[in-house]
């Protein structure tokens, strides 16, 4: 008994001494940390992400930040260049055999991280999995692929269910990273998830969930081993201020999603800067045009559009990190409509008049749903909109919801007049952006249906003539801007905090190609 207490005392004394030691060493931490870092961490590129990677199942997630990591481990058949042109990656040559058959040849000498060569059968395995298994989240983007035919080790054909003008877009985005068939066949899918291998410039070291993913350069990468870094770390730092502080204190080299209000702090700090890049994420208000709601009246929708000062929002709320837009298909995407971009309508007087004409002289009460903590400055934007709408006599009841509740509600079509969303476009093609206006997809959350739009989109989606296709998409955008099932607000841009120690140029598609990031 007495010995027990004695031992507790001794333990505590030891701990005290230890802590005293710690606190002593922390008084001279600069050299302490400096020395540790200069030896080891200087050759480590650390990137602070707002969310953890979702999974190594590249077919079963739809988060861009996860793809941004995966591009370092897996190769696509095609790669988007910085200007968002398509460039063959694993593919050497390709040709269109007929409207539904494409033929490809693979580059020679590409190997997976375990040394196995990458061949046509790996491509078939990968694309078959995502196009056949309907439970996968990416299935809808790949079910157009009817069959993958292996011709030989380096040659294969892709046969689609109809003309697929956007096939190359599909082959260069989430879900298209080529997986190692042999490795997965031998070890099983779960083993792959625990220790994934790809053919990319970096290979897997470890993943501590909610903490960090560690990669290291792959020495036999077909374009040559990455020399600037010994290690690549993606750290999850959810809290905005913590992420910024981590950058300022030198804990990470690059951070994503810099909140606008922190721009000045990062810029004024020695050794860090902010760089921005346009994205293709558009903030918008979804409008339920169902008869039961006043928003079924086009005048009300127009009044709402006119009452919102998008310029003020981008300037004051987003602090410059956004551009007003009237369409979802913004520059950099196929089918963009330059006339509807970087412009907005704002006319409070006319909005008031429209409200009067629509019979809401004494005001109107609307509900605006918005998800919690999901979109960039979403809460502030929505609050600003509510304030602006109150100027024209529209009282907005804000309904902030959990993300899961929010999606559930929209899937069920249970949303009321308005909801706020910010949608991206991983395909960089108008097809995905405008698909939501088809009667099939719009009937629930938007209650919107326009036969002309349906026809135009159906034609465009299988139109192999790019010029006609462009015109069809532009026409749809004009109709949408007029009828307003969505009231477009702004195209948001992404801000990155970057340490002066690295060269980093953000990309519009938000991918982080670490081999392109170099040391200064």
């Amino acid at each position: 008994m007495s010995r027990l207490i004695k031992s507790i005392f001794i333990c505590m004394t030891i701990c005290c001494v230890m802590l005293a030691g710690c606190s002593n060493s922390t008084t001279s931490p600069q050299n302490n940390k400096g020395s540790a870092q200069s030896n080891k961490e200087d050759r480590t590129l650390t990137i602070g992400m707002p969310v953890d990677m979702a999974s190594f199942d590249i077919h079963n997630h739809n988060t861009i930040t996860t793809e941004a990591i995966h591009v370092n481990m897996f190769n696509y058949l095609f790669k988007r260049t910085e200007d968002l042109e398509f460039k063959p990656d694993l593919v050497d040559t390709y040709k269109l055999v007929n409207d539904t058959t494409w033929e490809f040849s693979l580059k020679e000498g590409v190997t997976f991280h375990n040394g196995d060569p990458l061949s046509s059968s790996d491509v078939k395995f990968t694309l078959d999995r995502v196009s056949k298994d309907q439970t996968l989240k990416e299935n809808s983007q790949y079910k157009q692929i009817k069959e993958v035919k292996v011709l030989d080790d380096l040659h294969f054909q892709i046969i689609t269910d109809g003309p697929q003008p956007a096939l190359l877009n599909r082959l260069s985005r989430i879900g298209s990273g080529i997986l190692p068939k042999k490795y997965i066949d031998e070890k099983g899918w779960d083993a792959f998830l625990k220790h994934p291998i790809g053919s990319g410039p970096f290979k897997f070291v470890e993943w501590k969930r909610d903490d960090r993913l560690v990669l290291e350069p792959f020495d036999k990468y077909y374009e040559g081993e990455v020399k600037d870094w010994d290690q690549l770390e993606f750290r999850k730092i959810a809290e905005d201020s913590t992420r910024v502080n981590e950058l300022l204190s030198g804990g990470v080299d690059i951070i994503l999603n810099v909140p606008p209000n922190e721009n000045a702090r990062i810029k004024n700090h020695d050794g860090t800067d902010v760089t921005t890049s346009a994205s293709n994420v558009v903030g918008l208000l979804g409008v339920n045009v169902d008869k039961e709601f006043p928003t079924s009246d086009p005048k009300v929708r127009e009044a709402i559009d006119l009452a919102i000062d998008k310029k003020a929002i981008t300037e004051h709320v987003l602090k410059g990190a956004g551009v007003p837009t009237r369409t979802r298909v913004t520059p950099g995407n196929f089918g963009d409509h330059p006339e509807l971009f970087n412009t907005s309508l704002y006319d409070v007087k006319r909005a008031k008049k429209l409200m009067e004409e629509a019979g809401y002289k004494n005001g109107l009460e609307l509900t605006l749903h918005a998800p919690n903590d999901r979109y960039f400055k979403g809460k502030e934007v929505v609050e600003a909109i509510a304030a602006m709408l109150s100027e024209v006599g529209i009282k907005v009841n804000l309904d902030f919801m959990e993300w899961s509740k929010f999606t559930e509600m929209r899937n069920a079509g249970a949303n009321k007049e308005l909801f706020f969303a910010a949608n991206g476009n991983s395909l960089f093609d108008a097809a995905t952006a405008l698909d939501v206006y088809t009667t099939e997809r719009a009937q629930k959350e938007l209650s919107y249906s326009n036969p002309e739009v349906d026809t135009l989109l159906a034609q465009a989606n299988s139109n192999m003539n790019p010029k006609d296709r462009l015109e069809q998409y532009r026409k749809v955008q004009e109709i949408v801007a007029e009828e307003r099932p969505h009231i477009m607000l702004y195209l948001q841009s992404d801000s990155y905090g970057v340490s002066d120690k690295v060269n980093f140029k953000p990309r519009m598609d938000q991918m982080i190609f670490a081999q392109e990031i170099t040391k200064k």
Binding site: L19, T26, D52, D210, R212, S241, N245, L248, G251
Partner: protein, 304 residues
Amino acid sequence: MKYFIKRLIQAVPVLFIISFIIFSLVYMAGDPVLLMLPEDAPQEDKQALREALNLDEPFHVQYMTFVGNLMQGQFGKSFTYGQEALPIVLERLPATIELAFAAIFVATIISIPFGIWSATKKDSLGDVFISGGAVLGKAMPNFWLGIMLILLFSVYLGALPVSGRGTIFHLILPAITLGTGIAAQITRLIRSNMLDILHQEYIRTARSKGLKEFLVIYKHALRNSLIPVVTIMALQTSSLIGGAIITETVFSWPGLGQLLIQAINTRDMAIVQASVFVVALLVIMMNLLADVMYRFLDPRINLK
């Protein structure tokens, strides 16, 4: 030993009740199938999955299945991770426990000297400051303190890492953040215990032996006043883990708290169930330990 077994047996119905609470919550959460399948999955698939998950059975049947699985340590697959939930939860547990222990350690080294000083110098300026600080420590929201500490120690002084888990340095700020509240409480507890004990006759006896005042206080008085403190510390497990959820978010600490918050946001109920159950089990075990320890530390109570 007998007592220990008795307490252990008492814990069984408690675990059942917890399983019932957890199950009811999830039952009320509604149909998970919508979240588990893609939006446009065909109706047949949804129905098939519902049947596979027994979701069409009445409440009590579903509950019995749940308890059956639970006894085998199965909470179902997490749909975000695509794995059995329990191993995922257990994988995070060490990080949270590490943080909790560090916080208790911080709380101990702050509260013992402060509590004693406060009691021996009752009503002095120091006592007023310590007592005031203790109340303040409880009144401050945790996350506020955490962010302030980061700004001060990491950004302005550059002395400690901002976030993440790794070296002992990474542990210091989160441990202080989480430990402050407990330190405040224990300081108050030690102070009032010491005040009580310093008036005990055996303290006078110790003095009458010619013992130095230091020994009188740190040996005779402290050992007595620590007995309830040890118990209280173990009983703090519950609020400690609660506080860890917030601290982990501020410091990006990859523990149970962050996992849970995410699981709640994505409605990954398997993870939610598993983590709540694991936490509850942990708390029950710590309470048991507290009880046993109390009996062990205090020779006045006979171990039967």
